[in-house]
């Protein structure tokens, strides 16, 4: 019998009933095979049989999960397996082990094999296991595998075959079979054994794997009757999980009985299924759709919504949350809900549980005498395990840190010197268990130090998991492994199964799960929240280099595989998942997404695009913008290419937004969807600004246009639909940030025998070399060759990509794969580029490629503000050419600056026409009638004798402005980053509050606080360190009245009780005792403590991520902290922090570089220290930096020094122009003839503007 059924059709009850009927009619339970998808369903099935059976003998139940079937079969028939193995040393039982042991075997098998044409070595083992899983679960024969190797043109297929063959042999030799290997042994075994089953009951027939189906086919002739429950729209485990859609009507030659209910819910679910398959958004009444800007907003709104539901009487177990990103950040936020929350997904390492982590460290101590320990970990052991008093534990561990630093002291040696009975007992205990087996040691440590109380339940579960893994190793390899190596391998074991067994799901908790877990566990709730719906992880695409889940399906019958196959099959599976998820709710489903993920990276969109809000008759329209005459042509755009040259302050952003609104409202191009609009910005902040403003105007808009930097777009092109596989990249590639890149280059530089300080030189040179696409053979510099080769192989070995690779690879993909190119060309119906003057050649090429089909390309910018060419790959010539060749709208009116300032800016252009003719296009700024200020004192040009005079003048002016115009904004624009700190310090010393606008990590309040707490935790005794930390903490308003604590710490030990009158003392001590957490967890604790419910909390996850990345490499708290301190003052490119809209409430003086000021405007602007060295405006003043000349040595057509100087001169003019045009009311240009350096007065040349010509004349 076949039953078409959903999870709402009581199918299991019907199958249980069938079972009981069979038994009642005389069938023996031994003859009935019951197959279900997983352990939880098995338990459920058994419980139902038990409940409905009459009293007395129920019988021997053969209820198995798909994998359990294989395991049970082997256990029962082990002798047959053993007798077929030709290796000696038989075993009474097969080692039916976990993946850890088989991975260990596989790892050793592939050591010697070179995989040609396969680039990633990091996760090779993992990928091989995935391939093996596909082969086994799809029951593929050798011939079927070969066909697939040919379809995929795998250059490394023979090596893969060799590796798998070797692995299979080795597992036979060891008799070690993990769950996958068990399936392949089962396949062999069932053909040798007489089938005992006359009846087969199959629940979840839609999730069956080919391996299990092959078995059913094999026993079909002996089976009297099959009872199959199947959902025709099910099979959510298609793809990597290897479910297959079986036509059971054909297989059993009978018609199915349709048990699916006909209600609205089923109909809606079917609509979702059909619409998703057809890529048409669906509107369903009980689905609430919301899009947020930041992820933290989405999470908090969900929590708020859940709290309201609970307040209104909904029980916790009637609520479930599904997300593919069950990360620590989400867990942390959800754990703050008062109700129990159970996480049914997410993987974690064993040692992430602090108790388990500490037990593992003890295990290490038991097996090594000469080991050092991080003081942080020692503190963990003392506090968490030995339960030593907090203050004493801190004292002991800090003293150890000092001892270890000075004398390299083994931790056991050190502990022997401590007079504490618990520590003495601990050391004796370690001695006692020294010679026991690892599993015995673990058992003894746990029995002695782990309390069997409910708080430790999770730790105990994990410790038992660890014990099982160790026992596996001892069983399989005897003493053939190093204890300490094994401990290290196991502590990093990632448990992907959470909970460890499916029957542990509590009855009264809110469930947070992955989609598959919720479906597999058949959890039905009233309210189902789908979060992170715009994150591409929702739509998993399992086509890695070594495992193409689609081609490796049993029923794959095409001769080729292309990008569209993947897109379609993935869509089909997504439709099935969403269909099943919808059936898991009984009242309401919430589809929530956010524009940015936790790291501030844009989400590309995923399942959010399948849901839509029912259209109202009056869709909300954006606020209308009335354009000026010079802006009008932009909004009259119809199609084709258009350049917009917009002078500073001309309202470029506003008019571009207005154009985007018009496009979105369908007023320009018919049937244009959001996804068809591509906007490219130069900075992330600009992309964010666009998105946020669109969101403000269309709050219900779920799918946003593609708005990102070029790197964001390149990342999308590489990742979307797993396109990277077409470049031969494996899916574990990692895009490294600037810090990591610098670290690799620094190592390569030092290894090449050069000084560390040369790192800067090679950072830029490597980037230029890659972007130019040069051949390494043509490079003359041997040191560059060496460093680049080391860098390159390190990158390849680890499957890293840097930001340059991102662009180069995306371009390569578009050029070499027509499917991918077509996809983006069809999509990108309009492309708008902001700051086009800063566009690099690669960006321009990429833009032209994807805009190739529709040709609607709008490029906006101001060539006169191109200020990034000398230190980046930008190329202003491209935009100049575009302006020349296409329709150009000149927006040359600006209401920003006072008329005198406009005049001055235009004179800068005139002046340059003599000295640097290529610097500007002759586009002069014009005022807007009646709008610009007309003050006569707009420009002040002052030259001083001494730099102190210059500074005094600035102070005097600022005080004056603040007095006269307290509401007006003030900025100091500097040439270099280092000047920012100096000016800030000076102004602050004069009690003028400043805001440093500089992208260093330390400037972010969350990072600063975390660093301060970490430094404090690391060493509470070092006064200098302590003062620095305390000062950073005192910046927080909550401690504003506690500055006295600085005096206290000068005289006393921080930890002495006298500090208890300060709340800061209590708070820091709290963190000190929390230090058994991992550094990452500590970040979340600190973040939650200080930044909860503020925008800054969104940045906590970014700091978390920075710490996490460093910790992964450096592995200890101390080393991580060292690196954090190192990078704190570097320009931050690794985290895209969110920041509040700038407020001028406190009227801080903004200090930033001229470069950074672009896009900003201030009422009063100071540009100080305008010496010829700082800003050369004539060719004689330009000095080339060593790196600019060095970079030319690696170019095929190197530029002469003269050309380089000329280019710098041109850019300096533009930089000056940018600075000038920031000022709305008054501009102060100053310089001094001499300055103090190491107490000596040094003279300097003022720059060109102070000496002669029209820039100087009328203003002094």
């Amino acid at each position: 019998m076949i039953f078409y059924s959903t999870i709402n059709s009581n199918k299991t009850d019907i199958l249980v009933e069938k079972f009981l009927q069979l038994v009642k009619s005389g069938a023996n339970t031994d003859e009935i095979l019951i197959l279900v998808q997983n352990g939880r369903k098995k338990k459920n099935f058994v419980e139902k049989i038990k409940k409905n059976s009459p009293l007395g003998n129920i019988g021997n139940l053969n209820v198995f999960s798909f994998f359990g079937l294989a395991r049970n079969f082997i256990e029962k028939n082990w002798v047959l397996v053993e007798n077929s193995i030709r290796y000696p040393n038989p075993c009474v039982f097969g080692h039916l082990c976990g993946l850890e042991a088989s991975q260990y075997i596989f790892k050793n098998c592939i050591k010697e094999i070179e995989f040609k044409g396969y680039n990633s070595k990091v996760n090779l083992l993992h990928q091989l296991l995935r391939r093996y899983s596909l082969i086994v679960q799809n029951a593929l024969s050798d011939n079927e595998i070969k066909i697939r190797e040919n379809i995929l043109h795998e250059s490394y297929c023979s090596e893969v075959r060799e590796a798998i063959k070797l692995y299979k042999l080795k597992t036979l030799e060891y008799r070690a079979f993990d769950y996958l290997r068990q399936v392949s042994i089962f396949e062999y075994l069932y053909k040798q054994v007489k089938n005992p089953y006359k009846y087969v009951i199959l629940d979840d027939g839609d999730e069956i794997t080919p391996a299990v189906f092959e078995y059913l086919k094999h026993i079909k002739k002996d089976v009297k009757e099959f009872f199959v429950a199947q959902d025709p729209c099910g099979s959510s485990r298609l793809g990597y999980l290897s479910a297959t859609h079986i036509d059971f009507e054909k297989f059993l030659n009978e018609k199915a009985i349709d048990l699916r209910e006909n209600g609205i819910k089923t109909q809606n679910a079917k609509n979702i299924f059909e619409n998703v398959k057809n890529k048409t958004p669906v509107s369903v009444e009980n689905i609430d759709i919301k899009g947020f800007v930041r992820r933290d907003e989405m999470i908090f709104q969900t929590i708020k919504q859940i709290e309201t539901l609970i307040k209104n009487g909904v029980k916790p177990n009637e609520i479930a949350v599904v997300t593919p990103l069950c990360d620590r950040y989400l867990r942390f936020c959800f754990n703050k809900i008062k109700q129990d929350v159970f996480f049914l997904s997410g993987s974690e390492k064993l040692n992430q549980n602090p108790h388990v982590g500490a037990i593992i460290e003890i295990l290490k101590l038991a097996n090594t005498d000469d080991c050092y320990l991080s003081a942080f970990i020692l503190k963990g052991i003392l506090l968490e395990i030995l339960k030593i008093n907090g203050d004493e534990a801190i004292e002991i561990s800090q003293n150890y840190a000092y001892k270890n630093q000075e004398y390299k002291t083994f931790v056991k040696e050190y502990l022997k010197t401590i007079k504490n009975p618990d520590i003495e007992d601990f050391l004796n205990f370690l001695e006692e268990i020294k010679n026991a087996s690892l599993s015995e040691q673990l058992y003894k440590i746990c029995t002695k130090y782990t309390q069997k109380d409910i708080e430790n339940q999770n730790a105990i579960l994990k410790l038992n998991k660890l014990a099982k893994q160790i026992a596996d190793f001892e069983d399989i390899f005897g003493s053939d492994f190093q204890k300490t190596t094994l401990i290290e391998q196991l502590e990093n074991t990632i448990i992907s199964e959470n909970p460890l067994s499916e029957d542990e799901i509590p009855d009264n908790s809110i469930i947070v799960a992955s989609a598959q877990k919720l479906i597999d566990s058949e959890i039905c709730v009233k309210h189902l929240f789908l979060l992170d719906c715009s994150n591409s992880d929702w739509i998993k695409q399992d086509i890695g280099m070594l495992y193409n889940s689609w081609v490796f399906q049993k029923n794959w019958n095409k001769n080729e595989f292309n990008s569209n196959d993947n897109i379609e099959l993935t869509l089909d599976r997504t439709a099935r998942i969403l269909y099943k998820l919808y059936l898991c709710q009984n009242e309401k489903m919430y589809v929530y997404s956010s524009i940015y993920d936790s790291l501030g990276m844009e989400n590309f969109g995923a399942i959010d695009k399948f849901f839509t809000i029912a259209q109202t008759n009056n869709p909300k329209k954006a606020t209308k913008i009335t354009p000026r005459d010079d802006q009008k042509p932009v909004l009259e755009y119809k199609s084709g290419k258009m350049a917009v040259s917009a002078v500073a302050g001309s309202g470029k952003t506003t008019i571009m937004l207005a154009l985007i609104f018009k496009l979105l409202e369908g007023e320009i191009i018919k049937n244009l969807k959001s996804e068809n609009i591509f906007v490219l910005t130069f900075m992330d902040s600009a992309a964010r600004n666009f998105k946020e403003r669109i969101k403000q105007n269309y709050p219900d808009m779920v799918e946003m246009p593609q708005i990102s930097t070029i790197h964001g777009l390149a990342l999308r092109i590489l990742k979307e639909n797993n396109n990277y596989t077409f470049l031969g990249l494996d899916n574990d590639f990692e895009i490294i940030d600037e810090n990591k890149r610098r670290e690799i280059i620094a190592n390569a530089t030092v290894n090449a025998g050069l000084d560390y300080s040369k790192t800067d030189l090679y950072e830029r040179a490597i980037s230029d070399f890659k972007n130019d696409g040069e051949n390494l053979k043509n490079i003359k510099s041997p040191s560059f060759k060496r460093i680049f080769s080391t860098y390159n192989s390190e990158m390849k070995e680890n499957n890293f990509l840097d930001y340059d690779d991102l662009l180069i690879f995306a371009l390569k993909l578009l050029k070499t794969n027509s499917d991918v190119l077509n996809y983006y060309q069809n999509l990108a119906r309009v492309i708008i580029e902001d700051e086009a003057q800063d566009s690099s050649p690669v960006q321009q090429e990429l833009l032209n490629l994807i805009g190739g089909k529709w040709g609607n390309i709008i490029r906006c910018g101001d060539v006169n503000q191109a200020i990034t060419a000398t230190f980046s790959n930008s190329d202003v010539k491209g935009f100049k050419k575009f302006i020349k060749e296409n329709y150009n709208v000149e927006m040359n009116k600006s209401q920003r600056c006072a008329i005198k300032i406009i005049d001055y800016a235009n004179k800068v252009i005139d002046r340059a026409s003599n000295l640097a003719p290529e610097a500007f296009l002759n586009i002069k700024m014009q005022p807007v009638e009646g709008k610009n200020a007309n003050n006569t004192d707009a420009i002040t040009l002052k030259l001083f004798e001494k730099s102190q005079d210059e500074k005094d003048f600035i102070i005097e002016q600022i005080r004056k402005i603040k007095k006269e115009y307290p509401e007006k904004s003030i900025a100091i624009l500097t040439r270099s980053n280092w000047q920012i700190g100096a000016f800030s310090e000076f102004l602050e010393s004069k009690n003028i509050k400043t805001q440093k606008n500089i992208d260093i990590l330390y400037n972010n309040p969350v990072f600063r606080t975390v660093l301060a707490v970490f430094n404090f935790i690391n060493d509470t005794k070092n006064k200098k360190n302590l003062v620095k930390s305390i000062e950073a903490m005192l910046e927080m308003p909550r401690y504003k009245d506690e500055r006295e604590i600085l005096n206290y710490i000068q005289d006393k030990d921080f930890l002495s009780q006298e500090g208890s009158k300060y709340s800061l003392w209590w708070d820091l001590k709290y963190f000190l005792l929390k230090s058994t957490l991992t550094p990452m967890e500590l970040v979340l604790e600190i973040g939650d403590f200080y930044y909860k419910n503020t925008l800054e909390f969104a940045n906590v996850s970014m700091v978390y991520s920075i710490v996490d990345k460093i910790y992964q490499t450096h592995k200890s708290f101390e080393q991580t902290l060292l690196r954090l301190n190192e990078i704190s003052n570097r320009i931050n490119k690794s985290a895209k922090f969110f920041s509040e809209e700038k407020t001028q409430e406190e009227n801080l003086v903004n200090i930033m570089t001229l470069h950074k000021s672009k896009g900003d405007e201030f009422d009063f602007v100071f540009i100080p220290e305008l010496s010829a060295d700082n800003l050369g405006l004539k060719i004689e003043d330009i000095k080339l930096k060593s790196n600019s000349e060095f970079i030319q040595t690696i170019k095929q057509n190197p530029k002469t020094s003269e050309t380089l100087k000329q280019e710098i001169l041109e850019e300096n003019y533009r930089l000056f122009y940018v600075g000038v045009t920031r000022a709305k009311l008054k501009l102060f240009l100053t310089c001094a003839r001499s300055f103090k350096m190491y107490n000596k007065e040094k003279t300097q040349e003022p720059c060109e503007i102070f000496t002669k010509g029209e820039l100087q004349n009328e203003h002094i």
């Binding site: 038990k50 059976s53 009459p54 009293l55 007395g56 003998n57 129920i58 019988g59 021997n60 139940l61 082990w78 002798v79 047959l80 053993e82 007798n83 000696p88 040393n89 038989p90 075993c91 009474v92 039982f93 087996s437 599993s439 058992y443 746990c446 029995t447 782990t450 069997k452 109380d453 409910i454 430790n456 339940q457 105990i460 579960l461 410790l463 038992n464 014990a467 099982k468 160790i470 026992a471 001892e474 542990e504």
Partner: protein, 195 residues
């Protein structure tokens, strides 16, 4: 918790707290004791033998002591009466009811032999057989369950020490007394856990 084995009942009888920790809250450490494995191996070898598998190769995996024990065991009379052998390593699940409480008993018989109408459940012990087999909880549970499975009272349980070949046999006596004994232990568990 509604299903009990001999081992879990023994623990419950000994200490409710330990039972809850181990079987309900999972707060117990699993010990992978090498000594216990010897017993498991011998049990498995006997079972393979009874099922008719060729155990020649497998026997090579046993250590000297184990080999001796196995050889000695297999020379016992019972193994010569293969026609009486019914099943080995047979799991069971029995639904019981007393005073409106429904519970289940589960377990596994090492081997079952039938001589004419009498069923004998064999239980191999590596070292010692129960000191007081008649009152041992294993006898009570096994005899009660076997009577339900085979629907007869003509049943016995026989313990055999593999090391010493010492034996003890207990014949079925009274179903109600058995159920009462089992029930009294189960009742030690607070009601909230009896689901």
């Amino acid at each position: 918790m509604n299903t009990f084995s001999v081992n879990s009942l023994k623990l419950l009888d000994k200490s409710t707290e330990e039972f809850i920790n181990k079987y309900i809250l999972h707060l117990d450490f699993i010990s992978y004791n090498q000594n216990a494995k010897s017993g498991e191996r011998l049990h498995a070898m006997i079972s393979y033998y009874l099922k008719g598998f060729d155990i020649t190769k497998l026997a090579n995996s046993l250590n000297k002591d184990e080999k001796e024990i196995l050889e000695k065991s297999l020379s016992l009379d019972i193994f010569k009466e293969k026609e009486k052998f019914i099943k080995s390593e047979e799991t069971f699940l029995i639904k019981c009811c007393k005073d409106d409480l429904i519970f289940y008993l589960s377990g596994r018989f090492d081997a079952i032999f039938k001589d004419e109408e009498k069923y004998t459940i064999y239980d191999w012990k590596l070292k010692n057989i129960p000191q007081n087999p008649k009152d041992d909880l294993q006898s009570i549970v096994y005899l009660y369950c076997a009577s339900k499975i085979f629907n007869t009272k003509n049943i016995a349980i026989k313990y055999i020490s593999l090391q010493t070949n010492q034996t003890a046999q207990v014949d079925f006596k009274d179903e109600n007394i058995y159920l009462e004994s089992i029930f009294n232990i189960i009742k030690k568990l607070p009601n909230k856990y009896l689901v």
